[in-house]
């Protein structure tokens, strides 16, 4: 069945949609988990310790996300190249009627997000960007994620990087969500305009949720 999906235009689109949906799911869960930082060290440090205690299950989840990202990126690049070949000559004048800035820049927003994810993993997962505040242990003997995050987000340039990445996420998910709904065939006359509006709204809620963390830390409103 996979071979069939790969060679068909709609099949490839379905792969983009399914992996995209999976990653939106991850982005939602990740945000909910991150909110535990507002409870202080007793929130996020406990959350982190619980995640780590999952052991092999955690690795299953990580590999799952990695596989989804790999498919999404590979097909995204492949389809973009194929689509460009299908439109070799540009119009001297072109007027956009329905497409959006977000929809026409998916490949760029996608690649920027990939760059950000690499940075983010180096920052908080491999902890090599600020090793001096990233490998501490709290009084209960757990990894001190709270200090790692709050110390990072007191640095203005770091906050700027995260804000910029979230702006990119807004454009990517803003088109991506409504696009995947269409691809899995859920649309009719009523739902088309509905998801057209819901998609950027979902992206906005996610992005506001995410940027609330560095912003509140930067303004000193998150206390241990």
């Amino acid at each position: 069945m996979f071979a069939k999906l790969f060679k068909n235009s709609v099949g490839r689109k379905l792969i983009m949609a399914a992996t995209g949906l999976g990653m939106i799911g991850f982005v939602v869960m990740h945000l909910l988990g991150n909110f535990s930082i507002f409870l202080g060290p007793e929130g996020i440090n406990v959350y982190a310790a619980r995640l780590q205690s999952l052991g092999p299950l955690l690795w299953v989840a990580r590999l799952g996300i990695l596989a989804m990202a790999a498919f999404h990126i590979t097909f995204g690049i492949w389809l973009t190249l194929e689509n460009r070949r299908a439109k070799p000559e540009a119009y001297a004048v072109r007027k956009r009627q329905a497409s959006t800035f977000g929809s026409e820049t998916m490949i760029y927003s996608g690649l920027l997000l990939l760059t950000f994810v690499v940075f983010h993993l180096l920052h908080f997962t491999l902890r090599v960007i600020f090793p001096e505040t990233s490998n501490l242990i709290d009084s209960a003997g757990r990894a001190d994620v709270f200090t790692m995050v709050t110390e990072s987000f007191r640095k203005f340039p770091v906050v700027v990087i995260y804000l910029a990445a979230m702006a990119v996420l807004f454009f990517h998910v803003g088109h991506g969500f409504k696009s995947l709904v269409q691809t899995i065939g859920l649309n009719n006359d009523k739902t088309l305009p509905l998801f057209g509006k819901a998609s950027p709204l979902l992206a906005l809620v996610l992005v506001l949720g995410y940027i609330s963390i560095p912003m509140l830390i930067l303004f000193g409103l998150v206390k241990g």
Binding site: N83, S99, H175
Partner: protein, 246 residues
Amino acid sequence: MNLTLFVWRQKNAKEKGRMERYEAHDVDPDMSFLEMLDVVNQDLIHNGKEPIAFDHDCREGICGTCSLTVNGIPHGEQKRTTVCQLHMRHFKDGDSIYIEPFRARAFPVVKDLVVDRQALDTVIQSGGYVSVSTGEAQDGNTLLIPRHDAEYSMDAAECIGCGACVAACPNGSAMLFVGAKVASLAQLPQGKVEAAQRVCVMTETMLDQGFGNCSNHYECEAACPKGISVKFIAKLNREYLKSLKE
């Protein structure tokens, strides 16, 4: 009124083309866009120059032969209108108008504004039909079809095959064209029989013919002179999902 035209001129499929400037004088606002071009061509012929080649047939907005991109929009800015039914009253005296062919790899330029849209026919030939015997005309009435299904199918069947969707799509995809045909047939009992193989064959032929993939920009729907909705692409996607089970 007087207009300045920038028109794509290209001798044949092999040679490189370029935009050329023409002045259109004393254009009557009641002329159609193509009549305006006819007048410009008369002038060119009188002056011993090569007239601008463009496709046209019924000039009533139903055949889908005319294929001009006017100011960056296939068939021009007027909604749900083929360019033959676009009238000069929608322009202002002194306007500059850019006229280009429908652009896509699958639509090679034959000459000037004329493009070869055979690729769409090839897609239809691959599966856009019903091969079971549906009987004589009167047999049609013996097979009752719910009104909703009939209307839905006819809405999709409104497609005149002009290719504006392809020309408008940043990916040069023909998914709206294919979606309209797949949806129209899959909604009717006669078309359901071959629905699964049809959606697969037609979408694969689409790629073979050099069209791109759909990434849901919806430029196609905005440019379609018949207002075919992208809901038919969603229907195509559902039909494809169903075909995976077979």
